[in-house]
């Protein structure tokens, strides 16, 4: 029995070491991509001295718009949504449980751990998907993924994680594949206008596209959900993805589709170690 216990312990150690080595392998590959990505933005915007500034989106590179944005942030239009989200978060489900029962640390101060790759289901788990999974596992109907209650819940949860840094891992080959799918989506040209995400948010950012300057891609995921002046309300990152796709006349994917979750995974990894500052305001 003692021998069996020793054998099991040895095997566990070996498997853990192999898994860690595998995880390190993929994290290193992604780290190389992050370095190239950051070098691109460092060369494009030499005046942005600290990468942390990119968490403010286009306001990191557009001084005039930044002044207006800072004034708006004095009385942020998303404040009521945070309150609404807190109320929803704390309201018990019909079975008496709350959202806190589904998340580590009771759902507080965890936003920076999303999205992550769920090795049990082999898929990217976003915060909004986890919120709806929590609802359905407690007998509640899922919420729509673009705006309204889910955006308010996400806003509240993000607000409890402000200034925490994204810490996203690539634990195995399946996770790396999801990352590559997101990367491929980001650089693929789509729609009648034949534009990739990277065209607007890497090649063109810094210059005007019609009336506005598209925000730099780095830091995209930090501030969501966002209150957009155009929407007049709070919306999720996947709502924005759908809008971007429509703008180039590409048929959008469904919010929380594998395509958009993988894109979020890629974008968040590119924003690794940056502060959470959601919810925030955008044009």
């Amino acid at each position: 029995m003692k021998r069996l216990t020793i054998l099991c312990a040895a095997l566990t150690t070996v498997f853990t070491a192999v898994a860690n080595a595998s995880s390190d392998k993929y994290d290193k590959k992604v780290a190389q991509d992050i370095a190239k990505y950051r070098t691109f933005f460092a060369n494009k915007f030499p005046n942005v001295k600290n990468f942390g500034e990119y968490k403010d989106g286009v306001y990191a590179i557009d001084a005039k718009a930044r002044e207006q944005w800072i004034e708006i942030e004095d009385f942020p239009p998303y404040e009521l949504s945070i309150d609404e989200g807190k109320e929803l978060f704390e309201k018990p489900f019909a079975n008496g449980k709350t959202y806190a029962s589904c998340f580590k640390n009771g759902g507080i101060n965890i936003r920076h751990n999303y999205p992550h790759f769920d090795t049990k289901t082999n898929q990217v788990m976003t915060l909004e998907l986890a919120i709806n999974n929590c609802r359905t596992s407690n007998g509640e109907k899922p919420l729509g993924y673009k705006k309204g209650k889910i955006a308010a819940l996400s806003a509240y949860m993000a607000s409890t994680s402000r200034e925490q840094k994204f810490n996203v891992k690539v634990p195995n080959e399946a996770a790396y594949k999801a990352y590559l799918d997101g990367k491929k989506f980001f650089y693929s040209k789509r729609g009648q206008l034949n534009l990739a995400c990277s065209d607007c948010h890497m090649a063109i950012t810094g210059s005007k596209l019609r009336a506005d300057i598209p925000g730099p891609a780095i830091g995209h995921a930090t501030g969501f959900p966002v209150y957009r002046s155009k929407w007049g309300e709070l919306g999720t990152l996947h709502r924005r993805y759908g809008g971007c796709n429509k703008n180039v006349r590409a048929k959008p994917f469904k919010a929380q589709s594998a395509e958009y979750r993988n894109l979020e995974y890629f974008q968040t990894l590119m924003s690794q170690d940056m502060d959470i500052n959601g919810p925030s305001v955008r044009k």
């Binding site: 190239k36 789509r190 729609g191 009648q192 429509k246 006349r249």
Partner: protein, 99 residues
């Protein structure tokens, strides 16, 4: 009598012409739909193509075969371009990533 015969022949010819044109339009619409389906499956459907097909169908139903053909051909071209875009992106997306 001769006039009646000529009129009947002209009428038959014109009706067969309409039916022939309608058949062509339906074929182009069917091809456009099939191409759009492939584009959708590849994840590269454009938002404009399905609207063109709907327009072509409406025009054909309303008897405007000229407009129907114009819209159907445009939809087919868009569907084909979407597939070219999908193929191009598959082969070249890495060209746009920072080196």
């Amino acid at each position: 009598m001769k006039l009646i015969k000529v009129s009947i022949i002209a009428l038959v010819l014109s009706l067969s012409n309409v039916a022939f044109a309608g058949g062509d339009v339906n074929k182009v619409i069917a091809k456009a739909e099939s191409t759009l389906k492939q584009a959708s499956k590849s994840g590269f459907e454009w938002t404009t193509t399905a609207k063109l097909i709907d327009g072509a169908k409406k025009a054909a139903k309303g008897g405007d075969s000229k407009l129907a053909m114009k819209l159907a051909k445009k939809a087919l071209k868009e569907g084909e371009n979407s597939l070219i875009q999908a193929k191009y992106s598959e082969m070249h997306w890495q060209d746009y990533a920072p080196k």
